[in-house]
């Protein structure tokens, strides 16, 4: 394996190990997700038709809000004991750090999404199994994009004083193309239509993912150094 790959993997290993031990993000995210489900249940009531039309939006609203909490914390550990400075002093391409962080965030978000999707199915009595394959594709592409842009903005705001305010304010507008595509594609696949019917939205998702990934990889060194 190349030195670049080893460095990305060791960042991933470090972040997952830290999260497994502290459980700071996962515990908060699971609790937050449950809270959202209860709130949505109260807001929508028992009207099944209403629920069916709102479900894709609610699902992604849950992911985005959970992502704001989880992604926003991804560089907090680097601030303790000036580890950020240590990362800056390591020789080599700094985008490996971004890639490792992105993979760790992707895995954490995926875990939260799997639990949320399962709970949505149970809470709202929705048959997600029949659409599981196409839904997985949409979730995968959406999560890559959310993690890519979220990791980048988390790094940008990690060192500023008002980061809790700035992070969502900066991130949410940039996520609009992703959310448009993911909600529309989810609507199509949960409506029982084939994945091919969501091709236009999936193309937009793939395009947005590539753009966010490339921007993240190219700009991370400057963000770390700023």
């Amino acid at each position: 394996m190349t030195a670049y790959g080893r460095r990305a993997l060791v960042v991933l290993w470090k972040d997952l190990l830290t999260e497994r031990r502290s459980k700071e993000s996962l515990n908060a995210l699971f609790f937050f997700s449950l809270l959202l489900l209860f709130l949505f249940q109260f807001a929508l009531g028992p009207d099944r038709e209403r629920l069916q039309s709102a479900l894709p939006g609610l699902l992604w609203l849950g992911f985005v809000l959970a992502g704001l909490l989880g992604l926003g914390r991804s560089f907090i550990a680097e601030r303790d004991n000036d580890c950020w400075e240590g990362l800056l002093l390591t020789p080599g391409d700094k985008s490996a750090i971004y890639l490792g962080k992105l993979l760790a965030n992707f895995i954490l978000m995926t875990v939260v999404e799997v639990v949320l999707v399962f709970l949505f199915g149970v809470f709202y009595n929705v048959d997600l199994w029949s659409a599981l394959g196409p839904l997985t594709v949409v979730l995968f592409l959406g999560t890559v994009g959310l993690s890519a842009v979220g990791t980048l903005f988390a790094a940008m705001t990690a060192q500023v004083r008002a980061r809790e305010l700035l992070f969502p304010v900066l991130l949410l507008p940039v996520q609009v193309p992703l959310l448009l595509a993911t909600v529309s594609a989810t609507q199509i696949v949960l409506g029982g239509q084939p994945l091919a019917d969501a091709a236009a939205w999936l193309k937009l998702l793939v395009g947005a993912d590539i753009v966010y990934l490339v921007i993240g990889l190219l700009t991370f060194e400057f963000i770390l150094d700023a």
Partner: protein, 238 residues
């Protein structure tokens, strides 16, 4: 020369922090930077480490133009700053594994345990850093830089948080590093620690180099007297 600095200056806006600092640090020697708070010691160290870009002057570190090619400089230096670069939820061994891999070094367990033994932390190798004292974290920092086999060691207040035995150990560590051909730049308030390892002593006041003299020419009392003459309680040149 490990470091050649000519006319280094640094300003934040209109506030000057360093002004015309010129000095040389040969390989196998230790330069100790003394000075009151706000004198510019940490800024100078951070410029040497390429973490801060000077607004004036020229700097060569390990034969490399530090302003043009900071990446190559970073491969030659080891830094132990105020922060220890220690992740609290990782063990001492895991911390070293992380930093060794990030630095592209051999991260085999035997080598990492040997580095921890070198800083007398082998007994707590598998304990999480969260439980460590600041002195122990500082030792992990030293084990981290030793793994990288740097040619230049930059230390900011390394004696802080260390007990008497720890200070003695650190002095021995630095003397051994020097004898291996490495250069050390150390910023401190500790006269006792400084004189034990220094080849040259520099005093910074108000961002200017007020003294740069061989340590052998200075006694502890003499250094104290010069220091008091050069600085007032606010760190300004009287």
């Amino acid at each position: 020369m490990m470091i050649t600095a000519v006319g280094l200056g640094k300003s934040y806006g209109k506030t000057p922090v360093l002004d015309g600092v010129s000095l040389d640090v040969p390989a196998g020697s230790c330069l100790v930077l003394l000075g009151p708070n706000g004198a510019g010691k940490t800024t100078l160290l951070r410029i040497f480490a390429t973490l801060v870009r000077p607004t004036a002057g020229a700097l060569t570190v390990a034969g490399v133009d530090a302003l043009r090619d900071p990446e190559r400089v970073r491969a030659a230096i080891g830094m132990v700053a105020h922060g220890s670069y220690v992740y609290e939820d990782l063990t001492a061994l895991e911390n070293l594994r992380f930093w060794a891999t990030m630095g592209g070094q051999d991260a085999s367990e035997g080598r990492l345990r040997a580095a921890l033994a070198q800083v007398e932390l082998e007994a707590v190798a598998d304990e999480r850093a969260r439980t460590f004292s600041s002195g122990m974290k500082r030792r992990i920092g030293l084990a981290r830089v030793a793994l990288g086999r740097p040619r230049l060691l930059l230390l900011d207040e390394p004696f802080t948080g260390l007990d008497r035995q720890g200070r003695k150990w650190l002095s021995e560590f630095l003397l051994a590093f020097k004898s291996g051909g490495g250069a050390v730049v150390l910023a401190t308030h500790s006269f006792e620690g400084a004189l034990g390892v220094a080849d040259r002593i520099a005093i910074l006041t108000g961002g200017r180099l007020a003294l740069d003299q061989p340590a052998a020419e200075l006694s502890r009392e003499g250094l104290r007297r010069i220091y008091d003459d050069l600085t007032d309680s606010n760190g300004r040149t009287p």
